[in-house]
């Protein structure tokens, strides 16, 4: 005795008795348009029954697609940690004495400058960069002869160059905002890091209006 043949289902055929393509109907159901009947479907019981069945079948897929997926909390930090390892890290050597050297990473200087700039009215976005790669290489080369033997690779002295790319709000006076950034960032780096000579280059490269808020 042989097992009975399983009943043929809608998905075992390529077309309905009316000639409608099952894949096209499945696509329609998957788009959530199972109830949006065209002229033929309005009068076709085969199509209406198939669309109803396929819509129910696809429902759990749509439900899964709608489940929100949050990234793991440490993902951004993990990525940026790896990225920073890939970047040639530049150090400012603030002080070299008999008991050792005091150094600070250029990226920390850049972050302090950026945060200081972001607090200034009119500034919408501020991105910080301290000592661009090529400039850093030249500065390191220039200061190499003066470097204390205990100091690691870096720019010797209490001097820093910070570049800030800034977007301001539409209508804000660019020159006044830029000067205020230079003043406040300079103060911040002098007070918080102990840098003496600070050069703050401000590039205003975008102007945003209210519609740009997201």
């Amino acid at each position: 005795m042989t097992d009975p043949m399983p009943a043929e289902t809608l998905l075992d055929v390529s077309a309905l008795p009316c000639g409608a393509d099952v894949d096209a109907l499945l696509e329609q159901a998957a788009r959530g348009r199972g109830a949006d009947w065209d002229a033929h479907q309005l009068h076709c019981v085969h199509c209406q029954a198939a669309l109803s069945e396929l819509t129910v079948l696809w429902e759990p897929v749509a439900e899964l697609a709608a489940v929100p997926v949050a990234p793991p909390p440490g993902l951004v930090a993990a990525v940026m940690s790896q990225v920073r390892r890939l970047v040639h890290d530049v150090w400012y050597t603030l002080e070299v004495t008999e008991i050792g050297a005091v150094r600070i990473a250029a990226r920390i200087v850049a972050a302090l400058a950026r945060d200081s700039a972001r607090a200034i009215p009119g500034v919408r976005v501020a991105l910080g960069r301290s000592t661009h790669g090529k400039v850093a290489a030249l500065a390191e080369k220039a200061s190499f002869g003066h470097r204390h033997p205990d100091a690691a690779v870096g720019v010797l002295g209490r001097t820093a160059v910070v570049d800030l790319a800034v977007a301001i709000g539409y209508g804000d006076p660019a020159h006044l905002v830029a000067r205020e950034i230079q003043r406040q960032v300079t103060d911040t780096l002098r007070e918080q890091v102990g840098l003496r000579d600070v050069t703050v280059n401000v590039t205003i490269d975008d102007v945003l209006d209210g519609d740009d808020d997201r």
């Binding site: 696809w58 990525v79 910080g128």
Partner: protein, 187 residues
């Protein structure tokens, strides 16, 4: 206060941030990572089927995007480019991983209120779809995830996968039918 709050919110385009990141502004890249880490993880999760592989894939993809930023042409959006990297990394991971992968698709829920009969029923359905999705060949799974889960158009899926639009359409027809067939059998 308002200005400071606005300044902390990214309001600039991805293209602007990509350009600044290329100039060496790590801040700009960090903003891009903050914006797109959810996308990278979500797609990786759907394609690999488990949380740990998804985290690895997302992290690798976002780091690889930084390393290859100079090669990003800007002809497509940053997110399309990231989709490409994530799907390639996910394929590598799945190929290396064999068949002993956990089927855990979502991280554990912390909210006990979700543990109702209704939620259990939904979890069952979600698990069934997850299994059905993972049973598809990788290429079919990819087009389903990109089109039906991420909402990408045929043209965008074609751009991500490197296939032609008719090929994407054909893959989708086969994938939808295979997925629906599996769900039908499990009803």
């Amino acid at each position: 206060m308002k200005a400071a709050a606005q300044a902390a919110t990214p309001v600039v385009s991805d293209a602007y941030l990509v350009a600044r990141a290329r100039d060496g502004y790590l801040d700009a890249y960090e903003l891009l990572v903050q914006r797109h880490s959810a996308l990278a993880y979500r797609v990786a999760l759907r394609l690999t089927g488990n949380h740990h592989d998804a985290q690895d894939v997302a992290q690798e993809a976002l780091t690889a995007a930084w390393e290859n930023l100079d090669r990003f042409q800007g002809g497509s959006s940053f997110s399309t480019w990231l989709y490409q990297i994530v799907t390639r990394r996910a394929l590598n991971k799945v190929t290396r991983g064999g068949d002993d992968r956990s089927l855990e698709l979502l991280p554990e829920r912390a909210d006990p209120a979700m543990e109702t009969a209704e939620a259990a029923e939904r979890d069952f359905k979600v698990d069934a779809v997850t299994d059905a999705l993972l049973a598809l060949p990788f290429a079919q799974r990819t087009v389903i995830v990109l089109h039906h889960f991420e909402g990408l158009s045929y043209a965008e899926v074609a751009s991500v996968t490197g296939a032609t639009e008719p090929a994407v359409r054909s893959h989708l027809f086969r994938a939808r039918r295979a997925l629906a067939k599996t769900l039908e059998e499990w009803k």
